[in-house]
Amino acid sequence: MSELISELDAGGMHAPVEPVDASHGILLYLEGVSVTFDGFKAIDNLSLYVADGELRCVIGPNGAGKTTMMDIITGKTKPDAGRVFFGQTIDLLQLDEPAIARIGIGRKFQKPTVIEPLTVLENLELAMSGAKRLRGLLTTRLAGAERDRIAAVLERVGLTAQAGRLAGILAHGQKQWLEIGMLLMQEPRLLLVDEPVAGMTPAEMERTAELLKSLAGEHSVVVVEHDMGFVRSIADKVTVLHQGRVLAEGALEDLQADPRVIEVYLGDGHAAG
């Protein structure tokens, strides 16, 4: 019980936050991962490697397994087979969602999920790393350093003017940025971003592209997106998923010439975009 009180947020069984060992230049390993729902192979022997600091786009038609892949990385779904490692040493399959979040993997949902009755500032405070022990939670004040961190993130996602407003009354695009800001407060090594520009105006899309590009290098970013124009504007490297496995991988221009990719996307409006 005392362990429980002192560690509302601690990792798995006994998870002191160990630093990620990305010494081989690879941050995330998925190897031979398969998962089946009722006989339907959502992910089929999928292997994927994300380099440290890379910005990777994952595309694919509906049902290709993009969201399921994210579910596996973040611990929501356990695969039937395969290995998922974060850096050299951390086996993600041994951890649950909060533990995975704690070791530095942030996830943005497809539908923007911010806490609407709280202000923008409170949302960021909620996401702040390092303050999740009970003692840290039972306070009503912000320390100076914490205030600075929040201010920096507000600046970065462009919501400084909105800091005191309720998240529920933000515009759709602003909610998306707030959610990205919340991920940043977690100080993650890896950001998983699911359809960040769905429903955005072109201007908002442009800002989002710049934001994500600015994050790469410092963080690894995996973006799942349907919008080809947006993908072209941000990605160096693109992975095409189809029927739960990697169909092709490489620069977008090369992929668009790949007959297999064309076949998968044939008649699909996204390919033209």
């Binding site: 429980l4 973040t74 979040a101 999920t113 911010v114 806490i115 409170e122 909620l126 939670l137 039972l138």
Partner: protein, 362 residues
């Protein structure tokens, strides 16, 4: 006195505390200092009635903490209330001593009646006030902790959770109805004489119990208000509105839920413990699922997620209940049923929400 910032901004809460303080001064004065035939005199009956309302209000606050802030609709909170009541009732039973009908110095009357010769082990220690007081918090807290630990860890939520909390209180009711349980069966615990040497029927004791209820309500309110204004409070709201988000932010949602649920159960237990000496009886009927749901409707009437609303709702609905069951007993259930429907359909934010919106538009 310096008022902390989290309370300074809570104007409704300050108003509530002021009203409680005023009651604590006025009620004893009107009972003790005003002559019995004077129209302003408050009878001991009325004082106890008010004390009862305050206990209900504390129960409502505990329900609002888990429902209004954490999104857990507990249909079994009256079970924690009743458990607290039973714990204190056991102390009061032991205080009767040899003054019972059968005159047994140790065994309560109902045990003598059942031909028991020995006090069951779980009655040991309840002759000590401090032990009983501890158990008033520990028994409901522990039950809620264990229950919550199982339920929240396996991510039972929403309606499912509501239904199993109802099953919990239903099962407890059936269990406490059994004589073999050793809690007086059908009749429960009653015929109390005194607590800490003060006779329960004396006016002065009733006044003290009323004051203690007011104090407990104020304390319970402040504790909950403080809790929801800390970062933990924001975590609760996050769990309520977007549980997966909270989890992916790195919070151990089930632990937060378990702890807050247990804390809330302790408050409910405290309310029950103060309730029992004022009404003079505790029986298994207190576990009835209807009681838990009534507590939920108090919160809904007042406005969930406001804490003050819980207090307002509990007092208003119970006042209406006292009045209606006396004047038009046939109408009470119609009124209560209608209230459930009307509040959910027409007044989803409750009275406090209504007032706030008025205030905002004005």
């Amino acid at each position: 006195m310096r008022v902390p910032s989290w309370l300074r901004s809570d104007r409704a809460g300050l108003a509530l505390l002021a009203v409680l303080a005023a009651l604590a001064l006025v009620v004893p004065a009107l009972n003790l200092l005003v002559a019995a035939d004077h129209p302003l005199h408050l009878s001991a009956y009325t004082v106890t009635l008010l004390g009862k309302y305050l206990c209900y209000a504390l129960l409502a606050v505990s329900v609002d903490l888990v429902w209004g802030y954490m999104g857990i609709l507990s249909l079994g909170h009256a079970a924690f209330f009743a458990l607290g009541g039973y714990c204190f009732g056991m102390y009061l039973m032991r205080q009767i001593g040899a003054r019972g009908v059968y005159g047994d110095p140790v065994l309560p009357d109902f045990m003598v009646f059942l031909n028991w010769t020995e006090l069951p082990w779980y009655w040991l220690g309840f002759d000590q006030f401090w032990f009983a007081a501890l158990m008033v918090l520990a028994a409901p807290g522990l039950l809620a902790f264990v229950f919550g630990w199982f339920a929240f860890r396996s991510r039972v939520s929403g309606v499912y959770l509501s239904i199993i909390t109802q099953a919990l209180t239903y099962a407890l009711m059936l269990a406490f109805f059994r004589n073999e349980m050793g809690f007086g069966g059908n009749n429960g615990l009653t015929d109390f004489k005194d607590a800490l040497g003060f006779p329960l029927h004396a006016d002065s004791t009733r006044i003290v119990l009323f004051l203690l209820s007011a104090l407990a309500l104020a304390g319970g309110y402040l504790a909950c208000r403080w809790l929801v204004s800390t970062r933990l409070g924001r975590v609760l709201v996050a769990i309520r509105d977007a549980e997966p988000r909270a989890r992916f932010l790195g919070y151990r949602v089930e632990r937060v839920k378990t702890l807050v649920f247990a804390f809330s159960a302790m408050l409910a237990g405290l309310a029950g413990a103060l309730y029992v000496p004022q009404v003079g009886i505790i029986n298994p009927g207190e576990f009835a699922p209807l009681n838990s749901i009534e507590a939920v409707i108090w919160v809904a009437v007042g406005g969930r997620g406001t804490l003050v609303g819980a207090v307002v709702g509990a007092v208003l609905v119970n006042y209406a209940k006292t009045w209606l069951t006396g004047a038009l007993p046939e109408v009470w259930l119609f009124a209560l049923g209608g209230l459930f429907v009307a509040v959910t359909l027409l007044l989803p934010r409750g009275l406090v929400g209504l007032l706030r919106r008025r205030g905002a538009t004005a």
